[in-house]
């Protein structure tokens, strides 16, 4: 008990010091009211998160990294918006409640027996049905915001429903790998889910989430599939599909364009494909030729990457107080906004924090005997790091741009809810995992467990 109190006191002290440092930094950047916008909400939320972690004996490094990211994210939003923004602050209090409910659901599902092939298939169909349902909702009553029909507007609330694709996709694979389906069936189901999701996301024009799903597919297959050949097929297939798809879209584009030039109206599907390629091609062109766009103003679409580079150049290593305006800076371009205000060094620290979460989560989750939980936790970690890398590399022109939010840093309700859920899942998931050195299992139980889970013998951790 005394140790627990000592841990809480020490970690809370560290947190307070960090918040004070952030406030001093924000004050240096001429922020109006750091007390109301950073100190109070952060102290309440992060302290609660730390107590939660210590209480459940979760991984403190993961918790601390996530809390630092949360605080940096809040400061970034306050700096970008130049003051208190009520919605992100409200979300800070709502997200843990949502996360707790979701963790409870996952906990319940983890205990479910999926040994029967039919039960497993039923569960898989239900999860896949969820993805289809989201797509149907978006296609019928979804709202197009920033070029993607990914939003469901309910009064004052705007929910980016496509964010749910990621946890559902992970859940599908968690069920898949826990089930007793044959290797062949697993591979077929996994491929079908991936391609289905990709197709639906393409219709909604949500390229960012599509990229996350594809990368998740490759990484999950690589880690969990018994055969390395599966990864090669998935990787090769993905590359071929992406390049082939781009080529086919290009072909459709040129045909539709010639029709438009002749004054004809293109049909529904070809018009849709035309629009998708147009968006893709434009981004590829900006990615390959940004220097030229920097020299001469070409069109509105290139404004964001051009401005983003200006912000990075102005930000330098340690940030700047210069002001540069960029459309949707608080969401897609929040990372670039962070570079402008806090510098490249600070921005790299953010990436390192995400990496720490991945490292701690991944190396613990793969050692778990419960495959459902193992895949869920790996998926949760990937759900945090993949959008981050896709966003930061897109907005800095390291790769071509796709609209996706950085967890904790970007403004976005759905993104915040799911990011907090992911972290809570990881903290809960890592609870109780300790080196299994001093407590060897009884001989009989050990031999039974070995038969069920052959990997257990070589795993130094158990849950």
């Amino acid at each position: 008990m005394n140790k627990k109190i000592r841990d809480i006191a020490w970690i809370l002290g560290m947190n307070v010091v960090f918040i004070v440092l952030l406030v001093l930094f924000a004050a240096n950047r001429e922020l109006a009211d750091p007390m109301m916008s950073i100190v109070i909400p952060m102290l309440i939320v992060t302290s609660g998160a730390l107590v939660y972690t210590i209480h459940f004996e979760g991984d403190l490094v993961i918790a601390m990294s996530a809390i630092l990211l949360l605080e940096i994210g809040q400061m970034t939003q306050v700096l970008i918006n130049e003051g208190v923004s009520s919605m992100p602050t409200i979300l800070l209090f709502v997200s843990p409640v949502f996360g707790a409910v979701c963790v409870a659901v996952i906990s319940y599902l983890g205990k479910k027996d999926l040994g029967d092939e039919k039960k497993a298939q039923k569960a898989l169909i239900i999860v896949a049905g969820g993805v289809v349902l989201i797509t149907l909702i978006l296609l019928t009553i979804g709202r197009n915001i920033n070029g993607t029909k990914a939003w469901l507007v309910l009064g004052p609330l705007s929910l980016q429903l496509t964010e749910l694709f990621k946890p559902l996709y992970v859940l599908f694979h968690a069920v898949l790998w826990k089930s007793s389906l044959s290797h062949k069936k697993r591979f077929i189901f996994s491929t079908a889910m991936t391609l289905g999701s990709a197709g639906l996301l393409l219709i909604i024009n949500e390229l960012g989430t599509l990229l996350v799903i594809l990368l998740m597919w490759i990484i999950l297959t690589f880690i969990y599939s018994e055969k390395l050949l599966d990864t090669a097929i998935v990787l090769g297939g993905t590359l071929l599909t992406v390049l082939g798809g781009y080529g086919v879209l290009g072909l459709v584009y040129s045909r539709v364009k010639s029709k438009i030039l002749l004054g004809e109206k293109p049909a529904g599907l070809s018009k849709k494909l035309y629009q998708i390629f147009d968006k893709l091609h434009q981004r590829v062109m900006i990615f390959t030729d940004l220097d030229q766009y920097m020299i001469e103003y070409k069109d509105e679409a290139s404004r964001q990457p051009v401005k983003a580079r200006e912000m990075i150049m102005n930000g330098g290593l340690f940030g700047s107080t210069r002001r540069t305006t960029i459309p949707i800076e608080n969401s897609d371009y929040a990372y670039v906004g962070l570079i402008l205000r806090c510098g490249i060094v600070f921005a790299i620290v953010v990436l390192v924090l995400f990496f720490i979460i991945l490292y701690r989560s991944l190396l613990k989750s793969v050692r778990m005997d419960n495959r459902f939980e193992s895949v869920m936790f790996t998926g949760a970690a990937l759900g945090l790091i993949l959008p981050t890398f896709i966003n930061v590399m897109g907005t800095t022109n390291f790769s071509f741009m796709t609209g996706i939010a950085v967890p904790f840093i970007s403004h976005g309700g759905t993104n915040m809810l799911l990011s907090v859920f992911n972290v809570m899942l990881l903290i809960w998931g890592t609870a109780g995992i300790r080196p299994n050195i001093t407590l060897p299992a009884p001989a009989k139980a050990s031999s039974e467990q070995k038969a069920d889970t052959p990997e257990q013998e070589e795993i130094p951790f158990t849950r």
Binding site: I219, F222, I223, Y224, L228, D291, M294, I295, Y297, R309, E310, I312, M313, N314, G315, G316, L317, R322, I339, I344, A347, I348, L351, V352, F355, L358, Y359, L362, L363, S365, V366, R367, T378, I385, F389, V392, M393, T396, N397, F398, E455, E458, I459
Partner: protein, 449 residues
């Protein structure tokens, strides 16, 4: 092999982690490079960074004004980031524009850095020109509607009092570029309204003063030539304008009568080498770096045939001069052979600092004092023969060159203080038709203190 390494999920997870570590390190290096954090590492990035800084400074700076020599406004701006307004259309081609959509041109392009470098009050530097607004406006009015150019120089200093250029059917309204941008860029206007003082074309007889100084310095001014109306050199026969016949004439009369046969004969006798040297002493054939841009003229006498050299002696052949070169011929004769470099920038300064001060510079001696005096006297008589009032004290020489089926009319003149050169391209006029415009400009110049 790979199967062995990645046989376990833990190893594969380690590989994923290593992949992300590598990606993070590469990305961090890229970001430092992409953001051009360290000067000299990314040259393209460095120049982009500089242009961004310039752009930002420009957005926060009120563009500096341009004034004439009396301090009267030519261009001015009141708001940061807004393009300056030009008060006189006669200056459109000279001051040009600096526009986010249409680009940069003229003095506002050349001196952009100074016009956009703010002082404490966020005002860019003021450029004071050597011009006089009313002379400039008059000069412009004289050539408006033609493909013309007027250069007015102060003989003793090389200060430019007017530098106007015009095109038929279109004016460069720098305050309203969108309205006539297409006309300005039409093929009829050579793709863009190039400042006519930069156009090098055959000068016609305005080259004769140069050849005349050479003939005089060669001691052949008093040599009598019998003009029969035709001079055959090699396989080519030269004629006078209007097929005129002047009989027995010397240099002075040849200048007044603009006798092509005389000049072709004498040039042929003196030779290409000496004419080329003399042309070079008048800054013909070399690039002139002036404060409003470079002027490029051409001669190619050494590789020309005898006929071409003879033609160059009276301003045809392989000889291309700009109106500035033609004006310099007049200025050198007026100054007794001394060439003064033309300049248009009097000063560039802010309230805190003077960046530049224009000054008189010598371009060397073009010819002997005696030859200049001789030619000057002949040009005085020539001016009278063009109908110019003797009392005005104007010395002049006309030129009418044939260029692509049309005329290039030129009129170079000077009095004791100023040189006035008018050129009209692509016209049916002859050089002497420009005398009236020159006289009106001289009358206005006489009002200057």
């Amino acid at each position: 092999m790979l199967n062995t390494i990645f046989s376990k999920a833990i190893n594969r997870a380690n590989a994923v982690v290593c992949g992300f570590v590598a990606l993070t390190v590469i990305f961090a290096c890229y970001l430092v490079y992409y953001g051009a954090v360290f000067y000299g590492v990314n040259e393209k990035g460095d120049s982009l960074k500089e242009s961004i800084a310039k752009k930002e400074m420009r957005a926060a700076t009120i563009e500096g004004s341009i004034t004439d020599s009396n301090g009267d406004i030519i261009t001015f701006s009141e708001e940061p980031g807004k393009s300056a307004k030009c008060m006189h259309k006669s200056y459109g081609q000279l001051v040009g524009f600096n526009n986010a959509v249409y680009g940069k041109y003229g003095l506002r392009a050349k001196y952009e850095d100074l016009l956009m470098t703010g002082d404490k009050t966020h005002h860019g530097a003021t450029i004071r020109l050597t011009t006089v607004n009313r002379i400039q406006n008059l000069a412009y009015e004289e050539i408006k509607g033609t493909q013309g150019c007027v250069v007015v120089l102060e003989n003793a200093t090389g200060r430019i009092l007017a530098l106007a250029t015009s095109y038929p059917g279109v004016e460069m309204d720098v305050n309203n570029l969108s309205s006539n941008w297409n006309e300005m860029n039409s093929s009829e206007n050579d793709g863009f309204l190039i400042q006519n003082w930069r156009k090098a074309l055959a000068p016609g007889s305005t080259m004769k003063p140069v050849t005349s100084t050479l003939i005089y310095d060669e001691g052949r001014a008093d040599e009598v030539y019998n003009d029969t109306g035709t001079e055959t050199i090699g396989s080519h026969s030269f004629h006078n304008a209007g097929k005129g016949v002047n009989g027995k004439i010397k240099l002075e009369r040849a200048i007044v009568k603009s006798c092509n046969t005389y000049f072709s004969h004498m040039t042929n006798e003196i030779g290409a080498f000496k004419l080329q040297q003399r042309a070079e002493s008048f800054c013909i054939g070399s690039d002139l770096e002036l404060d409003f841009g470079n002027i490029h003229s051409e001669h190619n006498l050494m590789s020309s045939s005898a006929e071409e050299v003879a033609a160059a002696g009276f301003g045809q052949g392989r000889l291309l001069l700009t109106p500035i070169n033609i004006a310099l011929i007049g200025e050198a004769i007026a100054n007794g052979g001394e060439l003064k470099k033309p300049y248009i920038i009097d000063s560039i300064s802010t309230s805190e600092k003077t960046f530049y001060k224009g000054k008189t510079e010598s371009l060397g001696t073009a010819c002997s004092k005696e030859s200049a005096a001789y030619v000057s006297n002949a040009m005085k008589n020539a001016a009278i023969s063009y109908g110019v009032d003797k009392k005005l004290g104007i010395h002049a020489k006309t030129g009418t060159a044939q260029v692509d089926g049309a005329n290039r009319a030129s009129f170079v003149s000077f009095n004791d203080r100023y040189t006035v050169c008018l050129v009209e391209n692509n016209t049916h006029k002859a050089g002497k038709n420009l005398a009236g415009s020159a006289v009106r400009i001289y009358r206005e110049l006489s009002k200057l203190s």
